[in-house]
């Protein structure tokens, strides 16, 4: 595949051709591209969603090399012995995958969107950027719809139970990567899936990912997205679940890497009796701006959503949380909770937290809360009195800060991955500043 430069119409056509896409998909790309060209970048002064996120720091033209495979195999791939299936993407191309044979025999699919097109074309056409995330939502969803790479396709047929977790690894070697994940868990099926995003420390890049999770009637889904981009990667992404009747979903996100990252994380409760836990951890260090907008979108009656986002902010790090609870007029008997807690590690750490409640039904239970704290010196002393050196004590406290959310993740291997990611962040922070504080 030759390199494609520039977010241009020619690039759209070339990309679609290189991926041997059917006409409908090219048409979808071109339609998005036309709208993309007509849509300005968000105004970070007037648009509430973007107000604290300085997009001027991103040089979109310079980064508009649409990441293509360069022959390299995945370097960041860890042996995932505990996963029952893995798919590895490097620069937008599936470079390897495996899936437990029993699951494959039951019709479970774990591959790339493009490889799945011949066998699951109708399913993809029905769900790909149609009703979960739509191209027209904004500048970046349009950009994504026009230039998405060979993303992940995961399908669990009706009633099939996936024991153990599937793992998708996404690696960026430079340029722009528009990774799409379409995850469909059919009625009564069960799935746990982890996505990991990584790049080497010296890689400069732009990531515009979208994850769509379609949870069918009574489906049970645990999803964790762990973003550990290197320090020179910019990101604007969307992760959203569309929960059908009675679906039970845990949507967990670890937002850890990147220079500037803006993530829209949401649950659309579209089927009565559905329940979604949104669990988030983020950990910006010096020079990082991690910005998250969450949406608990209660469209129908009788649903439950519970959000808890924890952020530790290193000195000179910046975290922004905007949490929207939206309850539609017909969504009576809604239970929706939101909690955002931030731990500031240093005088120049900064965290903003803004709840937004748009409640149009009257019979609902909603609450929100936010807190800001520092490491408690009395606890540091307590731990030191038991022999832990100061640095170890602080490390234990920061890791402990995230535990109440990590422990709610219902799958052991997913918890372990999140713990590992946090531990690595703490190590990096401790190493780069000679101490956490």
């Amino acid at each position: 595949m030759s390199s494609l430069h520039g977010f241009t119409r020619d690039s759209v056509v070339a990309l679609s051709a290189a991926l041997a896409e059917p006409d409908w998909l090219l048409a979808k790309r071109l339609e998005a591209f036309t709208a993309f060209e007509q849509t300005p970048y968000p105004d970070t002064r007037s648009d509430e969603d973007w107000r604290r996120c300085d997009l001027r720091r991103i040089d979109f033209d310079a980064l508009a090399d649409i990441a293509t495979p360069n022959g390299a195999t995945a370097s960041a791939v860890t042996a995932a012995d505990d996963a029952v299936g893995t798919a590895t993407f490097v620069d937008g191309t599936l470079v390897g995958s495996r899936l437990n044979a029993e699951l494959a025999a039951q019709g479970v699919v774990l591959t790339s969107l493009h490889q799945a097109l011949p066998s699951h074309g109708e399913l993809i056409r029905t769900h790909f950027m149609t009703h979960c995330v739509q191209p027209g939502e904004g500048k970046f969803t349009l950009l994504h719809a026009a230039f998405f790479n060979q993303g992940l396709f995961c399908y669990v047929p009706r009633g099939v139970q996936v024991d153990g977790a599937l793992l998708a690894q996404v690696e960026l070697g430079g340029g722009s990567l528009l990774h799409h994940s379409l995850i469909i868990v059919d009625d009564g099926a069960r799935l746990s899936l982890v996505e990991e995003y990584r790049s080497a420390a010296d890689v400069t890049g732009l990531s515009v990912p979208i994850t769509e999770i379609i949870a069918g009637r009574d489906a049970q889904v645990v999803y964790a997205g762990v973003q550990e981009w290197g320090p020179k990667v910019y990101e604007v992404g969307v992760k959203r679940v569309l929960a059908g009747p009675g679906a039970q979903v845990s949507l967990c996100t670890g937002n850890l890497g990147g220079k500037l990252s803006k993530e829209f994380i949401g649950a659309a409760l579209a089927g009565s009796g559905s329940s979604v836990d949104l669990l988030g951890i983020s950990f910006p260090a010096a020079g990082q701006h991690l910005d998250q907008t969450t949406v608990q979108d209660h469209r129908v009656a009788n649903c439950h959503s519970n959000l808890r986002f924890l952020g530790a902010v290193g000195d000179k790090g910046r975290s922004v949380f905007r949490g929207v609870i939206s309850v539609h007029p017909e969504a009576q008997q809604t239970d929706a909770y939101q909690k955002n807690e931030n731990l500031l590690l240093g005088d120049k750490a900064r965290a903003d937290s803004m709840p937004v409640l748009e409640i149009l039904a009257d019979d609902v239970k909603c609450s929100h809360g936010a807190s800001l704290s520092h490491l408690d010196n009395e606890i540091v002393f307590y731990l030191m009195s038991r022999g832990l050196p100061r640095g170890e004590a602080q490390r234990m406290m920061v890791a402990g800060f995230f535990e109440p959310v990590i422990e709610q993740v219902p799958v052991e291997s997913v918890r372990a991955r999140l713990q590992h990611a946090v531990a690595q962040r703490i190590d990096n922070l401790a190493a780069s500043h000679g101490g956490l504080l």
Partner: protein
Amino acid sequence: MADMATLVIDDLHVSIGDKPILKGLSLTMKQGERHVLMGANGSGKSTLAYALMGHPSYDVTSGSVTLDGEDLLALEPNERAKLGLFLAFQNPKEIPGVSVSNFLRQAAQSVRGEKISLRDFSRSMSANMKQLDMKPEFARRYLNDGFSGGERKRCEMLQLLTLAPRIAILDETDSGLDIQMRQLVADVVLAQHERTGFLVVTHYEDVVQQMQPDYVHIMTDGRIQMTGGIELAERLTAEKSWDWVAEEA
């Protein structure tokens, strides 16, 4: 025994902010001895405990503290722990997110300066928990998070058993414990007497009786005013006041 650790506190003055609390306190204790410290509320017992452990808010303005000749006051709290000093807190902190077992293993490794295999650690922890009549699920709970007053105190004792200090200060560990747990703590103290010297802070004569101390010290106004045996605790019970201490000191 020649290798018995000795803690020497000499003419210790400690202030909080610019308020003097300890005003020339001296006390010598050896590993293997049991000392009881009694005294009025606010007389400075916890201040002594914190200052010995190295709490940063407690300023030692003069005096010295040595453990086996080593200057304790020059050391960080963790280094003091490594030398064998332990404080069971009057009000232990809760630490959400840090499990009892994870915390204890790291603490034990830091104090001993070596890795402890998960297996060895689990085995000794189970034994210690059994000795304290603690249910196994405590190991997985977050440290002191949602613990009752008595459970916190028991957890302090579990830490003591895990770290096996040479000198241990129990700051009102008995308060908040039911009758049976008080006896259990006293039994643990007595069972540990060969390897640990205890400084037991308490307000109650029956606890003093259970501890069978070698010495009882009475503290008022930042100083030890009297040192004797169990009879001092009995006198306190009889007098129901501190006035006689000032008169007879």
